[in-house]
């Protein structure tokens, strides 16, 4: 359902955007790649759960348990719908993208990666899509290789061809959008190359699912991971999607309640999918809150979300590129980038810059963004990063630009 909704209307749904920070400045929240703010609908859903329906799920037969279970499971159906997943049993709720990737590294990786095998990732990955593979390859005496990036911050896919030609690659793990450069990965080409070579593909969708239409029915990857809190949802909820045949073959990740069928003193049989991978009491309230986030995005339509971000990112790139001494990273081609802008301003360290503009109520991120491999490649210690979402306005970009001018004065640029 598409609605002709205005940013002003959207902003009214986000209580936090009404507050003042520092010296009575309006909050300008530009740290959406880290986490987004939550609309009142999500906040209310969580409050409603604890106020009216709180119970553990799946086992008890009382009324509250039934309501809680139904609401929890309904979120799974909404995720399936949102990403065009045919089989709801392929959707595993986890804490976030990091846990989803670790689950694959542990439960699939330990069974399938052997000495001499190669796992391929990229130079623009978040640490969550690097470190689990380092742990796995070190344990198995396998090798980790990186697809490099060019000057525009795009992947050099020839590198993938070279790795695949060795015949030793077992998995390619790549993010669909870089959290630093905003580059949108050509996952269709990567998946096609890997399918041809019989290689499994994991896609990290932490930065893509919140910002553009993602169709897992079409994509044909093997594993897909993303987080709820970067798309209006609560923290502590994420999703691992994997092909059923893989989930069935994989060993469990955590042992405990809910993931079992029968437990005897010395042996246990596993529960059906997806419960085999959801040991212990899950994050029930936040999973239910996440459903409200999906409803909110569906109501806007992901095409609207993407169009709004293109408009605002384009405007911000235009304004930022007029500033002397300001270096922008990533491609200028908006068809290949999301609403993330990393930059450095002359010799002002990103942490100093973030502190200065925080005084004007602006929240940006500064640092290595959990992408130190990329920082090394770019030969910088850190960047400043502004990242946009559905509630950001061009006026907020102007506040940022004015604040950068103040920083320039303080540092006598």
């Amino acid at each position: 359902m598409q609605t002709a909704i205005s940013v002003e209307q959207i902003r009214k749904d986000f209580p936090i955007l009404q507050r003042k920070v520092r010296n009575d400045k309006s909050l300008v929240y530009l740290d959406n790649a880290a986490t987004t703010q939550k609309p009142i609908q999500v906040i209310n859903a969580i409050t409603d759960f604890y106020t009216n329906h709180n119970s553990n799920i799946h086992r008890a037969v009382h009324a509250l348990a039934e309501e809680a279970t139904e609401a929890y499971e309904m979120t799974r159906d909404k995720v399936a719908n949102f990403l065009n997943i045919k089989d709801r049993q392929e959707i595993v709720f986890v804490r976030g993208t990091t846990e989803a990737i670790n689950l694959v590294a542990y439960a699939w990786g330990r069974q399938n990666i052997k000495e001499g095998d190669i796992i391929v990732t990229t130079e623009y990955e978040h640490h969550s899509n690097i470190v689990p593979w380092q742990l796995l390859t070190q344990e198995k005496k396998a090798k980790l290789e990186y697809i490099g990036i060019d000057d525009n911050g795009e992947l050099i896919l020839n590198h993938l061809d070279q790795f695949l030609a060795t015949g030793k690659v077992k998995l390619v793990a790549v993010s669909q959008m870089s959290n630093v450069l905003g580059t949108i990965t050509d996952v269709a080409t990567i998946i096609a190359k890997c399918k041809k070579a019989g290689v499994r593909v994991l896609i990290d969708g932490a930065q893509s699912v919140p910002h553009m239409k993602v169709d897992l029915g079409m994509m044909d990857c093997d594993f897909f991971a993303f987080s709820g809190h970067k798309m209006l949802g609560p923290t502590g909820v994420g999703v691992l999607w994997a092909k059923k045949e893989l989930l069935e073959q994989m060993a469990p990740f955590h042992g405990g309640g809910d993931m079992i069928r029968e437990v005897h003193k010395y042996e246990t049989t596993w529960n059906d999918l997806p419960y085999k991978f959801e040991a212990g009491t899950p994050n029930i309230a936040d999973v239910i809150g996440f459903a409200a986030a999906i409803d909110y995005l569906n109501n806007l339509g992901m095409d609207y979300v993407r169009a709004h971000e293109i408009e605002i990112t384009k405007y911000a790139l235009e304004q930022l590129s007029k500033i002397n001494g300001l270096k922008l990273y990533g491609t200028p081609d908006m068809t290949k980038r999301g609403g993330v802008i990393s930059f450095n301003f002359a010799d002002i360290h990103p942490h100093d810059l973030a502190t200065i503009i925080d005084e004007d109520g602006i929240a940006i991120r500064s640092g290595h963004h959990c992408a130190q491999v990329l920082m090394e490649k770019l030969d910088i210690a850190a960047t400043s990063r502004a990242s946009f979402y559905i509630y950001n306005t061009k006026e907020e970009v102007d506040v940022l630009i004015n604040s950068l001018a103040r920083a320039a004065r303080l540092f006598k640029l």
């Binding site: 010296n23 010799d347 360290h349 942490h351 100093d352 005084e359 500064s366 640092g367 540092f411």
Partner: protein, 144 residues
């Protein structure tokens, strides 16, 4: 409490561009390195000790203006002092020089990284010589 913008006065900006005692010492008596995993600030401190005095000190690394200014000031304080006096340096000795006593909590680690490195470095030097060296280690780990 000072506002964020007040932090960036002339001295801090000048130190960030022209740090004091910046460089390396070949074969120093004491050398220690540490970094802040959250922001990537990275500092190496080198010291020569002669007759129980810090005869020379240099630092190397990269960091924000707060980090570079505080490290500069710290090296200025330390240079020429006896080991006993250097042991007594407290965080406000450094922060006070730059008017940063009320620095916000998220930036305090930038300001105190070098003091941490200094205290760990001294500990590594004194561990085998001084029964009370452990106190330095504890001070270092409790700075932030």
């Amino acid at each position: 409490m000072s506002s964020n913008a007040d932090i960036y006065h002339e001295m801090i900006v000048d130190y960030s561009r022209h740090p004091s005692n910046f460089g390396k010492i070949e074969n120093p008596t004491i050398q220690y390195h540490d970094s802040n995993p959250l922001c990537g600030d990275s500092i190496d401190i080198f010291m020569n000790v002669e007759a129980d005095k810090v005869s020379d000190i240099k630092f190397h690394g990269r960091g924000c203006a707060i980090c570079m200014a505080c490290t500069s000031v710290l090296t200025e304080i330390v240079k020429g002092k006896s080991i006993e006096d250097v042991r007594k340096i407290q965080k406000n000795d450094v922060l006070g020089e730059l008017g940063l006593e009320n620095l916000q909590a998220v930036r305090i680690k930038c300001a105190l990284l070098s003091l941490k490195v200094l205290k760990y470095g001294l500990y590594s030097y004194l561990a085998s010589k001084d029964a009370n060296a452990d106190a330095l280690k504890q001070e270092a780990s409790s700075l932030y």
